[in-house]
Symmetry: C2
């Protein structure tokens, strides 16, 4: 009992008009006599006609679908951006093809290619690093690409971010002002530019300005996860650091919980500042002081930029930098 699909042709026949006319009313083309429009609409209603988006995509060469590449949907940070992306996409009648890339270069390239094969009108890319291969694919792609919460040091691809380096610098400077001299920094892989070229750079700048020595033994590389944090904690504890800046909220929560469990008091023995201001910072105890980012907006703005690009409009600015802030919570002492 295959369900019968009603096509534009059926509607045309029933309404005694041509397919072209049906197409016009479906697409809101004004060149249709009101009476005709009404007649067609009635038939559409009666037959319960739904235009086939695939056929439409083939004929018009626009799929009203955009691809979204995300490291992992279960990552709250990126998921928050994704929510902003989807809302704006929906507002502009686009659908989202979402694919997890696990932050793996090869997978990212694959995924990008299958997205292009699906004729997406554009792509929003989220990830922690962009290598030459990927950058080349972006250029090669015939649909525009916008980065959300993702830096491209070359600045070639349009992107939306906050000023990570400045934010980290400010956070670390606050720590320094409170008297800390041994400040650790726990990041994701230093092979990723977001860590090496932005966060770490901001950290170094803060030390520099305060004339504090930079010691790479205080720089830790781990994964973006709670478990990575718990595993890293003993190492940090051994370093003698009295404060730590962390690049990921879940990691920070792991460090905090493991610290408390081993008798280290937060913030008295160790102050902790994290990066993303996700809900995790509120759930953890003590709650975690964090750089704040307009998560939803990063996604939303990226999607807005993409819609412009998809309609061949010029971008006001290719690299958008949204404001950040810092909220103090229980994992740091109050400033004197």
């Amino acid at each position: 009992m295959e369900k019968q699909t009603v096509t534009i042709y059926d509607v045309a026949r029933e309404a005694a008009v041509s397919m072209a006319t049906v197409s016009r009313v479906v697409n809101g083309n004004p060149n249709v006599k009101p009476a005709t429009r009404k007649k067609v609409l009635a038939v559409i209603e009666r037959l319960d006609y739904r235009p086939n988006a695939v056929a439409r995509g083939l004929a018009s060469k626009r799929s009203t679908t955009v691809g979204v590449i995300i490291p992992d949907v279960t990552n709250i940070y990126f998921a928050s951006l994704a929510r902003g992306i989807d809302d704006i996409a929906m507002m502009y009648k686009y659908n989202i093809i979402l694919t997890n890339s696990d932050d793996a270069g090869e997978q990212e390239v694959n995924v990008l290619n299958t997205l292009m094969a699906k004729q997406v009108d554009g792509v929003i890319f989220m990830g922690n690093h962009i290598d030459d291969k990927l950058r080349a694919e972006f250029k090669r792609a015939k649909a525009p690409v916008v980065l959300a919460g993702t830096v491209d040091p070359q600045g070639e691809t349009p992107s939306v971010n906050i000023d990570y380096a400045a934010a980290v610098e400010e956070a670390v400077t606050a720590l320094i002002k409170r008297g800390h001299e041994k400040i650790a920094i726990a990041l994701g892989p230093l092979s990723q530019s977001i860590n090496a070229e932005y966060r770490l750079a901001g950290y170094k700048r803060a030390l520099n300005k305060a004339k504090l020595p930079y010691d790479d033994k205080l720089v830790y590389e781990a994964g973006y996860s709670y478990d990575a944090g718990t595993k890293l904690q003993p190492v940090i504890a051994d370093s003698g650091a009295t404060a730590v800046f962390v690049g990921d909220d879940e990691m920070a929560a792991g460090i905090i919980n493991a610290s408390v469990e081993s008798g280290i008091s937060i913030p008295d023995d160790l102050e902790v500042i994290t990066s993303n201001d996700t809900i995790v910072t509120q759930i953890a105890r003590p709650a975690i002081t964090s750089i704040t980012q307009p998560l939803y907006d990063i996604g939303a703005v990226a999607m807005r930029m993409l819609t412009k690009l998809m309609n061949d409009k010029e971008l006001d600015e290719k690299t958008v930098t949204l404001p950040y802030g810092i909220v103090r919570r229980g994992s740091t002492k109050s400033a004197e």
Copy 2:
């Protein structure tokens, strides 16, 4: 400088074969002489030909795309299922069109329809409630639908879940065994069957078996969020309950944090058990005792079922119930 796309026709011409043959080699059809295949492959390589998935979809009537409806990507519980879905989908070469529904009936229907218009081969639906309207749409849809982490009391739509009622009953029974007589239960909207017909039912059964009175003043309705939890906490505190079962991890975290802040000790003054075993249960302090669910697998199994359905195969069982467990963490006392 529009990027030129190379079509199957170009390949056919260059390789001096017909489009049909090119199509065959692209699709791995064995009826092609090895020599021809090689020749065509070479041209494909040289021209960097990528089949247009939209055209393919139109011709073959299969889009190798499945729709996924999720209440909110930033909800860790559903995002975890989504991850399982996407992994299996990718394994079977399907892509995912992901859309947020905000758990709103009307929006869900809309989204389902636009997905069908996009000719998805199937859809996986996640949500907290299925009303008649939605159920009717599922039936009407010409692509199969599978529910993941979502109950349909009518059992009409294939689904993957755990036995929520039994799990809650077990959790509450454990509480009762530890001597609690006033046990509160905090759920999402009771208009949703997952809450009213499953969780609450399990709760009642546990009370019944223990011959404890059921008092609807101990039943709380709130949202699935951290803030909802913090707001609900004072109300629960006033009730005099000494334990509470919570239907959502973030809500549980909110209740716990607000309790501790107002001087209530967890688990000494109030024991808390939650439902979803997301990472939140580990981040919170005390860590939260929880029903455990195979989150990833619920999604993965649902997607596996969907692939069968999409290939017109029979399902071994329409309603799959995966095993649950209970992990004790700091928010409850140890059993004596």
